[in-house]
Symmetry: C2
Subunit: 225 residues, 2 copies
Amino acid sequence: MMMVRKSKGLGERHQKILDFIASYQREHKHPPSIREIGEHCDISSTSVVNYYLDQLEKSGNIERDRKISRGVRLTGPTPLGDMFRVPVLGVIQAGEPIPVPSNSDFNSFTAEDSVEIAMSLMPTKEKGKELFALKVQGESMIDAMVNDGDIVILKPTQDARNGDMVAVWLSDRNETTLKFFFKEKDKYRLQPANPTMSPIYVNKNESLEIKGKVVMVIRKVERYM
Amino acid sequence: MMMVRKSKGLGERHQKILDFIASYQREHKHPPSIREIGEHCDISSTSVVNYYLDQLEKSGNIERDRKISRGVRLTGPTPLGDMFRVPVLGVIQAGEPIPVPSNSDFNSFTAEDSVEIAMSLMPTKEKGKELFALKVQGESMIDAMVNDGDIVILKPTQDARNGDMVAVWLSDRNETTLKFFFKEKDKYRLQPANPTMSPIYVNKNESLEIKGKVVMVIRKVERYM
DNA sequence: CTTGACACAGAACAGGCGTTCGGTTATCAT
DNA sequence: ATGATAACCGAACGCCTGTTCTGTGTCAAG
């Protein structure tokens, strides 16, 4: 009988168990039992599996809900995938106002149209907040580096800090636009994301309604034609 | 004792169980047991929980791995979130070649740097394929509507069909670029995504190395400055 | 009123499953 | 050699859990 003594870190056996838990979770949507781990990793005794599991827990690779069946789970950034749903409230285009999330229907699970975002993708601690998404219609947002069909994810807010990318409704111009927001002495500067393009200025007496702050843009490149 | 008789569809009790399974799964990373469902949904008997679970299974709301502990799971488009990891192999910028996924290190779980994508976000059946991601460095891709800091997700391929957005290495020009690809009579047309910009043409005798097809672009709008 | 479906309770059975404990073998420093 | 330690094995204990069976109260149709 061969027994390899690993100096430090994860041995081959540890890695095999980790991989098995991951693939099992992926396939079955629930964690494996100790005995199942043993079978697939060529470990004949449940105590040995427990032995390794203890080590993996100490080293922080897994977490365990003791005493309960199938209470093993991988740790790491997002082991099996923390994600949340963002309701798609409508479309955003130059000529029309922005649909605002007036009603409190952020119930992600009942929203008929929604997009799923991995927690790990979200910018710093915007996680879990009330967000909504809009689908870009038309090519009027190209100066914001946003194309037709893109999905913009917004955080509803009325005010913005300098540097935020915001969705604004300029009622004087009857126009919706996505721009970086800067407050200057006596006017607002709306800076396009495309560095080659020039900013537009809005006097403070003109109406400027900030509808939300852009958190993320997702483009599915399906096909051009 | 009040017993509400629901005509069709999901009753209040069904919905409560569904919600509980979702929240429990979210919190514990593994499904609840029948008894746990009962406790939190004010059902005193395990048989009644089983009774409802049978109905929810028949109506397609849940799936069950019979005989095994905590074998309940929600169905639906992506109940708890099917996602996969895409390794970030490096950066893409105009002046440098594209890092190709030569070695078969698509082992998503060992990749130190990776992004997680929800299955539901992926374009038609690109799912589960070998994909890799690159982080855009610099503003040289703005004509492709891709900004500094954006993450592009690619499918490795050598050839492209007309209309695909591809990452190409033009060795004659010593340049990497993202363009829509079109094969014409005696040359290739590389069309920028930005409709206001003009295409560039590459003769068929010039070298044009397609490194991958762009599947998705993700932009985290953190902050401008 | 009877019948049958539906919604529910409670108990019991059997197997699943985590845990623990007593042993065994191999490697290594003393 | 020898004791310490790491890497195992097997079995047993006992709670956890899914399943099933019997029984009860309600409601609507016949």
